[in-house]
């Protein structure tokens, strides 16, 4: 539901702020962003009543685990790659990093399957699904380069085993899994940036489109009618029409 007041720019009609130049690129970008994501849609304090299932928890649990991954990874980055091998505190932080990654993937996989069984792409939400899938794949790559950057037996074995697969695709020419320095940079700069951007867009798309409504049991092609149903799809709005 779109309310007229939601489309109002916060800078419009505010005392002390000059009238905006609507032709300005900055103003256009700001207004487009506000139109797409007005504050009450970006950070709503109400949700549809159907958002009442344990499955919704796994999305926010995934984000929370990602936050722990980032914070523990930043501590490891601050102290340098060899710190955790020689310091008990460093080893503890590395363990936090490991288990936050394991938790992150566990939550994300449940979130992914939940989204699948809710057909969460319905109603102009296809791009939300696409970015979620990319987030999963980018996370797999980030974790993989993390394992290669550990500087221990696991790194050696995983690197020497993985090289054949990577090399077979031709990517080994520019993505050398036996080059510690290169893998570390991918792990702490490029891939986290990619995951951060993709997850950020995914969350914004969720906020823009809202949480997908349940299947209406009397939709055309729906399995059956619920008790007491009275609505018809002919009278319903079709969000999927672009």
């Amino acid at each position: 539901m779109t309310v007229d007041s939601e489309r109002e720019s916060p800078t419009r009609n505010l005392p002390g702020i000059l009238e905006e130049d609507a032709e300005q690129w900055t103003a256009k970008l700001r207004n487009a962003a506000i139109d797409a994501l007005p504050p009450q849609r970006l950070m709503p304090d109400r949700q549809p009543a159907y958002v009442a299932s344990w499955i919704y928890v796994f999305g926010v649990l995934t984000l929370a685990a990602l936050a722990v991954v980032i914070v523990t990874g930043m501590v490891l980055a601050i102290m340098g790659p060899t710190w955790w091998h020689v310091s008990p505190v460093g080893h503890f932080v590395n363990s936090l990093h490991l288990w936050s990654v394991e938790s992150f993937f566990a939550f994300m996989v449940v979130h992914l399957w939940g989204s699948f069984f809710m057909a969460a792409w319905r109603g102009k939400r296809r791009l939300t699904w696409v970015f979620g899938a990319f987030a999963f794949l980018a996370s797999v790559g980030t974790a993989f380069t993390g394992y290669l950057s550990q500087q221990n037996f696991d790194s050696q074995w995983i690197g020497t085993q993985a090289k054949d697969g990577i090399n077979s695709t031709g990517a080994g020419a520019v993505f050398n899994v036996l080059n510690f320095g290169q893998m570390l940079m991918w792990h702490i700069v490029l891939l986290p940036l990619a995951v951060g951007v993709i997850v950020g867009v995914h969350v914004l798309l969720v906020r823009r489109r809202g949480v997908v409504p349940p299947f209406a049991l009397d939709e055309p092609g729906a399995p059956d009618d619920p008790p007491g149903s009275s609505g018809t799809a002919a009278s319903a709005a079709i969000e999927g029409e672009a």
């Binding site: 539901m1 069984f117 057909a119 993989f144 050696q156 149903s229 969000e239």
Partner: protein, 333 residues
Amino acid sequence: MSPTSRSERRSRSFKPDRDVVEWHGAYVRYDLVKEFLVALGVVALLVVLLTVAFSSPDETPVTVRSWSTNNPVDFAQTAITELDGTSESATYGPPYNTGSNDTQSIGFFSPEKWVGVHIPINTAQDFVIGPLRTLPDRPDVRAALDRYQAAPASQQQAWTAAYEKAVANATFSNGVLHVAPGSYGPVGAIIGDLTSMARSGALDGALVSSKQFYSTDYTKPLLFIADGNYLSDLAGAQHLQGNQWGMMNETGNYPGQAWLWLYTLWYQVPPMNSSSSGDLQVWAIMMLLSLVMILVPFIPGLRSVPRWSRVYRLIWRQHYRSLATAPGASAKT
């Protein structure tokens, strides 16, 4: 077009696996920020508990020194294959060299070959001759290398073939590699000296040396170590071999990269488990499956699975129950 006919047209075009009916029902209070912070606290506590209970693995890495110290015979047997160009790395192919042992293809599709050599590795020069020439005050070593390099290729091959046969039954005691006497020219001295250099730790440094002071590239020592049996024997003891679901595991009893289960699964089934192009076949399958996952909302049939499976009734059971119990309630959604 009249409103009626437009409504009818839209009704016909409604697809339940693509479209939704707008929600006109009730809204409830929902504090997203509070939910996130509570989730953050719960996850942080869970992670701390898992850390305290299980810690994390940090198995000491294999070095050329530890390899040649713990299994000098395996080292010598590997070193001779690096010198005569028969090791896995020497015959690998792109991106390391022009060999064809590991060059994979699916029909005409062979990206490895198309991309070519980008990380040039000459195992004889990079793993044996070059490092030995860095040894200071060793004219005997230089003389052996000069003699080997000055010999015709056929003579080099005869020496290395004879040594490779003899070293198969080599023993090691009192810091010396014992190989039965034979016609290997300078090759016995070269491999013996390389073994001594490796056991001293000097070969580890020589293999990662570059024109610059700093180096973070361990391609050469890792390829050398992986050519021997020592690393794979240790991995086998840690249930990390390819037929043990390989690299998705981790040393110790840790979950490892469990999310790679599907990737690793394909290596266990024919024809990938015995194909010389198994890696490329597995990657082709995984790329295709990844594309399917990304494009689920656009694939007819697949995008209908959630509706057919009826799992959504479990997820939204409270919602559907409320529809069923509300007298005269609309069941639009």
